[in-house]
């Protein structure tokens, strides 16, 4: 399989990328790792006339805590996240997710920025971003902008990014005492997209009361989905087994899965219920450590 014809451009800086995009307009697409875009191009689901390669831009690959945030450069690969000491120590939700994302050779190339900017509800990182209430930093023709994650995903492969916007950084509130997160997805085989996945991030106060909670769902809706009704039930409460069961049931009700090769709608609703409960328990356990 060979993509249809296009013209390749290598961007040497963010400004260069934006200028190239401005010149070529809607017919141009940015490519970072290319492991979502290139397969689509090979299948001719996408046929951009211009590819602007942003993967060679220096300085967009990092994982660091800075002020109140964990900051991830958009070109950080999944492998770099997998092996990061900081992530392994303090942000286990990423370790959960990366291990289940594609396979090691794909993770060597695929980037976190690309995973999010692709705007696919089947990708794993969007659910994490929702759970942790990330802010997406993009740079475009009019300079930098911050986009709260709840305003980022607009539809099937559609995001708040304008054609010329480069996703440059992801900011996540820094892990603090009493916070913890977890992610799991059910997959038919290693490396598959999720049949369904759930990300949970919880913050407890000294009395074990849930101060903040985020629940993001993978691949059970057209757009990466926040389980808002479940969050409302848990916020401000001591999280009990009864409440966890209640939220699991809500997840199965509010998810909007469709039947496909990965399973029937009923099956997906059932596993969303189960994984939601398990991930709340695991996030709690990690937050209490």
């Amino acid at each position: 399989m060979i993509p249809s014809n296009f013209t390749y451009h290598k961007a040497t800086s963010i400004q260069d990328a934006i200028a190239l995009s401005k010149t070529h307009g809607e017919e141009a697409k940015y490519m970072s790792g290319g492991h979502s875009l290139l397969p689509m191009m090979k299948l001719r689901f996408a046929s951009p006339e211009h590819i602007i390669d942003i993967s060679k831009i220096d300085g967009l690959s990092y994982i660091k805590e800075d002020g109140d945030f964990l900051k991830l450069g958009a070109l950080t690969t999944q492998t770099e996240i997998e092996y990061s000491k900081l992530i392994k120590e303090k942000y286990l939700i990423f370790s959960d997710a990366v291990k289940l994302t594609a396979d090691p050779s794909v993770r060597n190339v695929g980037t976190i920025g690309g995973n999010i900017a692709h705007g696919d509800a089947a990708n794993d990182q969007p659910a994490l971003m929702l759970a942790m209430r990330a802010t997406i930093i993009a740079q475009g023709i009019d300079g930098k902008k911050s986009i709260p994650i709840d305003e980022f995903f607009h539809g099937f492969y559609m995001t708040a990014l304008d054609a010329s916007d480069v996703l440059v950084e992801i900011q996540i509130p820094k892990a603090k005492k009493g916070s913890g997160g977890a992610y799991h997805k059910v997959e038919r085989k290693v490396g598959d997209y999720a049949t369904a996945g759930v990300a949970v991030h919880v913050e407890l106060d000294d009395n074990g009361i849930c101060q903040e909670i985020g629940i993001g769902l993978t691949n059970v809706s057209a757009v990466p989905m926040r389980l808002e009704r479940g969050e409302v039930i848990l916020r401000g409460q001591k999280i009990t087994e009864d409440l966890i069961k209640q939220v699991g049931k809500i997840a199965s009700e509010d998810a909007e899965p469709t039947s496909d090769l990965r399973g029937s709608e009923a099956y997906k609703r059932s596993i969303v219920n189960t994984i939601t409960q398990r991930m709340i328990r695991l996030a709690l356990e990690r937050a209490q450590k």
């Binding site: 993509p3 390749y8 290139l38 397969p39 590819i51 993967s55 594609a102 794909v106 190339v109």
Partner: protein, 158 residues
């Protein structure tokens, strides 16, 4: 549109003109005649096309040749000097880690990177480590044994 790329492949410098859309696996197989790198699924699932690019295993069916400009590439032909076997190749031979052999070049390249990051992996780590490489002769048990043998041999060497 043509682009001039220069890269090092198995220790040799190569300069070539490539189309924007040429895939790296086609460049390797058809332009350079290095046919040890295979094309299996052509969708980044099976790992038959796995090569080493700047020290990392990647799937060359899902990588544009033009993006490899300046890169250092190793294919199965370059893992050991002509006429000799890399310890990983030897281990696949000794442990009967192949049947039809189609997946083997990718398996070997991937396993070499696996041991670079984790010189003494557990069986589970090996299975996760080669999870992006499919063997349809169902030969995983012997492949795992081969990687274990190579790990032992390579640790002795270092």
């Amino acid at each position: 549109m043509k682009h001039t790329i220069t890269l090092t492949i198995n220790g040799e410098s190569v300069t070539s003109e490539v189309d924007s859309r040429l895939l790296l696996v086609h460049f390797i197989r058809e332009n350079l005649d290095l046919t040890g790198t295979h094309i299996g699924c052509d969708t980044s699932n099976c790992g038959a096309c796995t090569i080493m690019l700047n020290g990392l295993s990647i799937k060359s069916c899902t990588y544009l040749a033009v993006r490899a400009d300046g890169a250092e590439i190793t294919t199965i032909e370059g893992v050991a000097p002509e006429g000799t076997n890399h310890p990983m190749q030897q281990a696949f031979h000794d442990q009967h880690g192949l049947h039809c052999g189609f997946c083997t070049p990718g398996m070997v390249i991937r396993s070499i990177e696996l041991l670079k990051n984790n010189p003494n992996p557990t069986e589970e780590e090996i299975r996760w480590g080669i999870s992006g490489n499919l063997c349809r002769c169902t030969g995983y048990n012997n492949i795992v044994k081969a990687v274990q043998q190579a790990a032992t041999e390579m640790q002795k060497e270092s």
